[in-house]
């Protein structure tokens, strides 16, 4: 495979393009609403209407407005059809011949679409994720080619530092610095791992990226591997994402066939292979060291850091771990340049962020917006507010590690530091909207129960502390707790946060702490008076 071959494939793909493309969403959300049958019927209808010469029915990745799925678009009409059923596929195709249809039409000019800025999701809903040619036709693998031909690994790292990209998995560690550390560590063997163990309940960005544009992740990994000097990569995907796994397997196979993975990529000395590792249902495996243990086929328990994976990771070798969205950002950065990327977003948070918008909100689905977009723009304009005329009460970001941001802070720009200041975190990008019917203590209890279930059990504060915190939250909800219990809960939050071994435990108190911060009244309303002289004034009483 050389440059020319890539161009040949791209040209061929473009030449084969038919006049009209009907895109049918084939991501997991729409597929659960029978989009596969919709696609099949569309194809049949196109054939029966003898339109197949000029019309292509294309299965594509996520078209973002999941709540209205199955989604179908017709580019010649600039139309988006919503809630298409296998039954009205024929009717839809007839519109190409001037027929009418009663199928619900979406509005591309709605802020939900208009306010999006697609870098990571540029190909999502556009190309067929199961064909590498489709990816190549949209400049796919060009970045890898450029990097291998024209840049030294050191330059690749420098470019990444310049871009200002920060890890999209949660904590927002600068990607360039991470790459640089792994690159600098000397070792005959290094690894690159893609963390696709998207465990936050309420997050499905990474699933969508893998289902919609798997090659962008592979290309990103290959560029990272070249930069840090690794020749083996692993993608750790959760077993709950069978479609993403299937599409990744297809993508890896195709890339290998074309020589874009394997030995001497683009006739350079660079070799890189990727294997898939399937998780088995353990949230803690999203934590780097636990994930590595799991890749090694062990119990996914974390270990203390340092040593950091960059120095001693998989099988003791330097290992680079980035998340799916981080890798998907890589090819565009090298195609368009670090300056271009750094011009998007805010001073300290560059680029865009993909969010999974869900919960009590009218438009649920996937959005990608520049960093710095306010929460209000996201939930009110794009999301269309809460359904049934209710008020938005809070937005939960960061899953069980994050917090609930109350409505009065909706004008906060979404970036790593602003969210942190509010006691939440960016997290991987799950955004759950809660309306005024939501009881915040129950939300705290929900997340604490999650942490109790998902604690690996290795360290005492996380294993035993979360159990006690859950017990106290339940006691409060059952109206059996006093102010003394609330004080105990707060003390435990502080302790578990500062003494737990890994991120799971260290952030487990966050949903409780943030609801206590903004919705303390809801807790206090549930408290019982201090009968029986329980520690009045917080002090034990001495005689005299």
């Amino acid at each position: 495979m050389v440059n020319e071959d890539l161009n040949v494939i791209a040209e061929k793909e473009q030449a084969a393009r038919k006049k009209i493309v009907i895109r049918c969403c084939m991501a997991a959300g729409c597929m659960s609403s029978k989009s596969e049958a919709v696609k099949k019927n569309l194809e049949q209808a196109v054939n029966e209407a003898e339109l197949s010469d000029g019309v292509e029915v294309r299965g594509v990745g996520c078209m973002k407005l999941c709540c209205e799925g199955p989604l179908v678009s017709v580019d010649s009409q600039n139309a988006l059809y919503e809630k298409v059923t296998p039954e009205n596929a024929l009717e839809l195709v007839q519109t190409l011949k001037g027929g009418n249809t009663g199928i619900k039409r979406g509005d591309w000019n709605h802020p939900f679409f208009k306010k999006q800025m697609s870098i990571v999701l540029a190909n999502s809903g556009e190309i067929d994720p199961e064909r590498i040619e489709a990816y190549i036709a949209v400049e796919g693998y060009q970045a890898l080619l450029t990097v291998l031909r024209e840049m030294t690994p050191k330059q690749v790292v420098e470019e990444m530092v310049k871009s200002g990209l920060r890890g999209r998995g949660g904590a927002g560690f600068p990607t360039g610095i991470k790459w640089g550390t792994v690159a600098k560590t000397e070792s005959a063997q290094k690894y690159v791992i893609c963390n696709a163990d998207e465990g936050d309940p309420g997050a499905f960005m990474d699933r969508s990226v893998l289902e919609s544009d798997p090659h962008s992740v592979l290309e990103g990994m290959a560029i990272a591997a070249y930069a840090v000097g690794a020749n083996q990569g692993f993608i750790y995907v959760r077993a709950e994402y069978p479609l993403a796994i299937k599409r990744l397997q297809t993508a890896i196979k195709q890339a290998k066939q074309l020589g874009l993975l394997g030995s001497s990529i683009f006739e350079s000395p660079f070799n890189f292979n990727i294997d898939i590792r399937i998780g088995a249902g353990a949230f803690v495996c999203g934590e780097e060291t636990a994930l590595m243990a799991s890749v090694e086929g062990k119990r996914g328990t974390p270990r203390p850091r340092p040593p950091f994976p960059a120095e001693s990771g998989l099988w003791g070798c330097p290992t680079l771990i980035n998340n799916v969205e981080t890798f998907a950002n890589v090819p565009p950065i090298y195609r368009k340049g670090a300056e271009w990327f750094a011009s998007i977003g805010t001073e300290k948070s560059k680029g865009t962020k993909v969010f999974a918008l869900a919960g009590k909100i009218n438009n649920t689905g996937l959005i990608e917006v520049p960093m710095g977009t306010t929460l209000r723009q996201i939930v009110e304009e794009m999301g269309g507010g809460a359904p049934d005329g209710r008020e938005i009460k809070a937005v939960q970001t960061g899953g069980p590690s994050g917090g609930c941001i109350p409505a009065q802070h909706l004008d906060t720009p979404v970036d790593y530091d602003s969210l942190m200041k509010l006691g939440s975190i960016m997290g991987s990008g799950g955004m759950i909207v809660m309306d005024d019917s939501t009881r915040m203590v129950d939300v705290a209890r929900y997340f604490m129960e999650f942490c109790v279930d998902e604690s690996c059990g290795k360290c005492v504060p996380c294993r035993a502390g979360t159990q006690q915190m859950l017990h106290l939250l339940e006691k409060i909800l059952n109206r059996k707790a006093t102010g003394h219990d609330l004080a105990k809960l707060e003390e435990l939050c502080d302790m578990v946060r500062h003494t737990s071994l890994c991120g799971l435990g260290q952030t487990a108190p966050n949903p409780t702490l943030s609801t206590l911060r903004f919705f303390r009244k809801e807790y206090e309303e549930l408290l019982q008076p201090e009968e029986f002289g329980r520690y009045e004034n917080g002090e034990a009483r001495a005689l005299k």
């Binding site: 999941c66 309420g202 998780g279 086929g297 919960g359």
Partner: protein
Amino acid sequence: MQHASGDKRFKILEAFMKKYQFRHDALIEILHKAQELFGYLEDDLLLFVAFKLKLPPSRVYGVATFYHFFTLKPQGKHTCVVCLGTACYVKGADKVLAAVEARAKIKAGETTPDNELSLLTARCIGACGIAPAVIYDGAVTPRQTPETALEQVKGWISHGQ
């Protein structure tokens, strides 16, 4: 060595292990395959894997019990997995689960005595856009209510009706 039972599935499993060169780091993939073949991981099967991979049985057992995906008990003929992710939860997945629990007279994680239905929960299946979602025999189904869920599992619950 062949498995004493002569069950062909052990042969398939062994071939799968061979594909991974009996590597220790493939243990989780192998357990996935074993569960796919046998439906659940019984002691005999875990022992076979331990023997073939040259691992202490306690290691295999430790891994098999760490991950929620693996089950050491046989599952019912049908499965109903209620997603309890945040998006599903705030949209009433708890009520869907409660309805099925009440009708099937089992708790989440249990199987009906006639072995027809296993009721399970998931932490998030990433189908938040169509919440609440339930997986009936592998098919993700969007926007469930207690009524639609009961309609789905109706045919799988016969006992006590």
